[in-house]
Subunit: 299 residues, 2 copies
């Protein structure tokens, strides 16, 4: 999200005037939360995926595209440390897309739905003389711990990530594993803030800091760089990692590491600071501003 | 929805294998229903609206387009006789769409959100070198009466509609009033089945009959034809009326008419039959098959 987008989201937040008792989490987080009259609560996320931007029908199979569409929203459920409940999918089909192609797309959607226990309960189908667009909306329910927000990082928290970062577009962006189980453990260990990495660490850490009214210092040397990333820059700025970015007090992180039973590793890459600047210490010891390098949808 | 689409929906329903206790209403109705652990229940609908199909950015103001996008989903909430809870909106913006245009669209969305007490709680924003696409997903909660489904029409029910039918595209499709209040009264009076008219009476009545495993006989003379419709054919086949189509025992309809306090009129246009054919009695007394005349998104 660019500066322009960030300003817009602030504008949307201000206009929404949501009741905090009914909507404890509103616009600006990975999901919004609603409280229901009898004491249940659901969270919701919606994502538009476009041919040529989020997938490429010329290169990728429709089954993989279907899987990815669901996995991206499942990653939002993970980002809040919540449990997927159900999904609805709306598609804008290019004319002459045909039933067989639609069934392939559906197969990939169902694959993710079954794997992560998030049934497809409805949808919409329309057509036009333009490329494929897929919109997934997903609901989740609260786990034993409260949903973990973006805006609640605390001074002194370690900044941590799951997995390795960067190069996703040449590698795993079509068949990644949303970190659902991992996120529940992270929440249980006492993480203060969390989101999923969709726009790159440089951009997404800036979100956490801005919303939490804190700063950060990242150590470049500590960033777990993916083999397919082009160095630190790729790890910082490539999108669609779908790993978790979370902040957690150091003693909770030690506890978490001892109990960690997943293949995916967790790494501390920096610390939340009082000063509201987001900085990076380069391998040579120089300290620079960590500037958002993600994609700007308003440019 | 065409025959091809109807078959596909059946295919999706069969593949979904939803638990009926958790999901009392699944794929194939205006909304899906989910039961939550503490006894609450929410319904969900998602709709994709496309430039050139559902609206025209060359002709219509972005504010009206925003309003319509929300109103179409609000009409789904009405179709089930439920109460709107919250909405999320995802947009695919043409490049260079710009902040001012986005704010105009947002203004229309908020206008509907406020008018019908259905706050906008989240969204997604992405861009491409293609026309505007808007996806609205809406949640609703159960009213005092149970949600009214499409599949529960009973033999002998009167087939009724709100308002007048046809010609919507030259008239009100951008600023119609979803029949939320009316639908609650209709449910309270004891309607057996209901949906909103989005594809035209000929198509939508066939849905109710197919899903209810019943037939119908419509009297052409009784159809309330809109002034802008091209005769009975327009009233039967034009899309986007966003009026309610419901079936109700005759004595309940009499009761409903006595208590009716809305401007929008209600009209009985036919009767549900045991024989599984959907028929129409023409003004000259001839009886013909009432064939779906709506739009086919797979053709």
């Amino acid at each position: 999200m660019s500066n322009g987008e960030t300003k817009l989201v602030k504008y949307f937040m201000a206009k929404a005037k949501l009741s905090r008792s009914k909507f404890p989490i509103g616009i600006g987080d990975d999901m919004a939360q609603m409280r229901l009259p009898r004491g249940d609560s659901v969270l919701i996320t919606t994502d538009m995926l476009l041919d040529g931007t989020h997938f490429d029908t010329k290169k990728h199979s429709l089954e993989k595209i279907g899987y990815k569409s669901m996995a991206a929203s499942l990653s939002d459920c993970a980002a809040m440390a919540t449990i997927p409940l159900a999904a609805v999918v709306a598609v804008a089909l290019p004319r002459n897309f045909g039933t067989q192609n639609l069934k392939k797309l559906h197969k990939g959607i169902l694959k993710a739905a079954k794997k992560y226990n998030c049934p497809l309960v409805g949808g919409d189908m329309t057509s036009w003389n333009k490329p494929l667009a897929i919109n997934v909306t997903m609901l989740s329910t609260v786990a034993k711990t409260k949903p973990v927000k973006r805006s609640t990082a605390k001074i002194g928290d370690l900044i941590c990530v799951t997995g390795t970062l960067g190069g996703s577009l040449t590698r795993k962006h079509l068949n990644f594993e949303p970190r659902l189980k991992e996120s529940l453990e992270i929440a249980k260990a006492g993480a203060n803030s969390m989101m999923d990495l969709s726009d790159g660490l440089s951009t997404d850490l800036n979100h956490i800091c801005r919303l939490s009214k804190k700063g950060a210092i990242v150590e470049a040397n500590k960033i777990p760089i993916s083999k397919t990333a082009k160095g630190v820059n790729g790890a910082l700025n490539d999108g669609e990692d779908f790993e978790l970015l979370f902040t957690i007090p150091a003693k909770n992180f030690e506890k978490l590491k001892k109990l960690w039973r997943f293949k995916t590793k967790i790494t501390a890459v920096g610390k939340i600071t009082k000063e509201k600047n987001v900085k990076i210490e380069m391998p040579n010891g120089n300290i620079a501003d960590l500037i958002p390098g993600g994609y700007d949808h308003l440019a």
